[in-house]
């Protein structure tokens, strides 16, 4: 008959849908589950960092290590919740929240100068010196009315990123 042993029941799908605030349709959740099982090669119920890195398109992304700390050990429900920020149904607020979480590595709700410097380092690699990075960041912060010592919170991010159209969407392939 060709059915996999780990099949989602209707109850499971609805639970996951609720957990991600209806960011995905039921069909999309089924597709995501197939994908999750495909990535979870050893069948442990979660996708390890190694398994994510075996996707070359993900491994070459400059932010892959940062995302791995957020992705490692997630079960399927949490995996869908993680991806919910990328759904077309997600609000701009939810998308900015996600970006904030990527910056706020220690999860204390505040983004420091060093947090922003770290992300900038990931994006630029060895092609700018640390000094130039600090210089650039300090300059744009001051122009925006902050200082090097400022601790940015969620509302700051909303103010900075919310105005122009934030495009952060991913399409889940549905058979």
């Amino acid at each position: 008959m060709g059915n996999t042993s780990s099949m989602l029941t209707q109850y499971d799908i609805e639970e996951v849908q609720q957990h991600c605030n209806n960011a995905f349709s039921q069909q999309e959740i089924v597709s995501l589950y197939e994908r999750f099982c495909q990535l979870d090669r050893n069948g442990g119920g979660f996708v390890s960092g190694e398994e994510f890195l075996s996707v070359p398109e993900f491994a070459v992304n400059p932010l892959s290590q940062r995302l791995l700390t957020m992705l490692d050990g997630l079960n399927f429900k949490e995996f869908v919740a993680f991806l919910s920020a990328f759904s077309p149904r997600a609000t701009v607020q939810q998308k900015i929240e996600f970006i904030f979480k990527v910056y706020d590595s220690d999860g204390n709700g505040k983004v420091t100068f060093n947090d922003m410097l770290d992300v900038l380092h990931d994006l630029t690699g060895q092609f700018i010196s640390e000094q130039q990075r600090e210089q650039v960041l300090t300059k744009v912060l001051e122009e925006a009315g902050y200082t090097k010592e400022s601790l940015l919170v969620m509302s700051d991010f909303v103010k900075i990123l919310g105005s122009s159209g934030l495009k952060m969407e991913v399409e889940v392939p549905v058979d």
Partner: protein, 376 residues
């Protein structure tokens, strides 16, 4: 048989040389937003393009698609069809399979009883021995194909034995080799396998001329390239068959062709192989099953139906690099495969940091440009 589930290692820089510019194939639009004009805080904080790309790769990526076995739709789902399917299963496992196993056993007996004498008794008379061994290898391959009820349609002129000529084909399973070998005794370049396959490789395949390589050894490449060149130059050697993808792909996609076969200074004759999935999915997913299980699966299916096209020989055009030569679309167009720009070896190792560095470099340059603009 080839699964190495241990820690993936970052690929050596040598594997880089094989790659054309992947950026040419990936969707356009830089992954990192490049700020124009005056640099603002927003430009630095907005990491949404990079995040979108990462999420896109998590949800679906072109590399994993190449190795997905796509089972055919189950058709036995209702009360009338299910008993029919059950009868089919009984027929396949209890009638077809024993018959096929018998055919194969007979084939082996005939083969070994001819091969062993020929191999030892005709030691002096090399020419005749080689001819007979070739014919015998073609014979045992025909027996193999018969043991899966292989229905192979060959199109195009049969390969001829000429020097300075290599054959390249897309790779779906090790049976590709058997299907091609029953027509023409090719020499082949293969990864050395353990177990009974390895035994066959070192005894019988030696007689048609084989070159071994070891994927995990970086230095191996130079030695192998040299051996390939030597073999292709020799007039007496069997024509060389190379699978430039370097790994088995699911017959719906094709991964990057490695340039090794295309820089030998020989004519390259492409061969396209396409399996008909209705009868059986011939893709050998080496991560999921051993070759023995794969063969058993084939022997308990209805048939292996495929088309083999021998395509027009190609030569390196003036001014063309071997990589561009390898990238020509001939086989994938003929076999209806979608091309994907990834190196098949990424199954076993991580991509080189070079790709990430390219993205970082372009973003870094635009940030610096923005900085300079402000200072003016």
């Amino acid at each position: 048989m080839n699964s190495s589930e241990g820690k993936l290692k970052s690929s050596s820089s040598e594997l880089d040389l094989d790659r054309p510019n992947i950026e040419d194939y990936l969707p356009s639009g830089s992954s990192i937003q490049e700020p124009h004009g005056k640099l603002r805080l927003r430009d630095l904080l907005d990491i949404s393009p990079a995040l979108t790309e990462a999420a896109g790769a998590i949800v679906d990526d072109s590399f994993t698609r190449c190795f997905k076995s796509n089972p055919p739709e189950p058709w036995n789902w209702n009360v009338y069809l299910f008993p029919l399917w059950c009868c089919g299963v009984v027929f396949r496992y209890l009638i077809l399979f024993p018959m096929r196993a018998l055919v194969l056993t007979i084939g082996w007996i005939i083969f070994l009883s001819c091969f062993i004498p020929v191999h030892f008794l005709l030691k002096g008379n090399d020419n005749l021995r080689k001819k007979m061994e070739r014919a015998l290898v073609e014979l045992i391959c025909s027996f193999f194909v018969a043991s899966w009820t292989g229905v192979v349609k060959y199109h195009g002129p049969r390969p001829s034995m000429r020097p300075k000529q290599v054959f390249v084909a897309n790779h779906t399973s090790m049976i590709d080799f058997i299907i091609l070998e029953q027509m023409t005794a090719f020499a082949v370049i293969m990864q050395k396998h353990p177990g009974w396959v390895g035994l066959l490789q070192s005894t019988i395949l030696e007689s048609v001329g084989c070159i071994w390589f070891n994927r995990s050894e970086a230095k191996d490449r130079e030695i192998v390239t040299r051996k390939l060149r030597e073999h292709s130059q020799g007039a007496d050697n069997n024509p060389l068959l190379i699978f430039p993808e370097g790994t088995c792909v699911n017959n719906q996609y094709s991964v990057m062709f490695k340039k090794g076969a295309f820089e030998l200074g020989c004519t390259v004759c492409p061969i396209a192989i396409k399996y008909n999935k209705i009868f059986v999915d011939a893709f050998w997913n080496s991560r999921k099953q051993s070759f023995t299980m794969h063969l058993l699966q084939l022997m308990t299916s209805w048939a292996v139906v495929c088309d083999v096209w021998y395509l027009e020989p190609q030569n390196l055009r003036p001014g063309e690099t071997p990589i561009e030569f390898a990238e020509r679309d001939i086989i994938s167009v003929r076999a209806g495969l979608k091309k994907v720009p990834w190196d098949g070896y990424l199954k076993y190792s991580r991509p080189s940091p070079k790709h990430r560095e390219r993205k970082q470099q372009s973003f870094a340059e635009s940030v610096l440009r923005g900085l300079e603009l402000e200072e003016k």
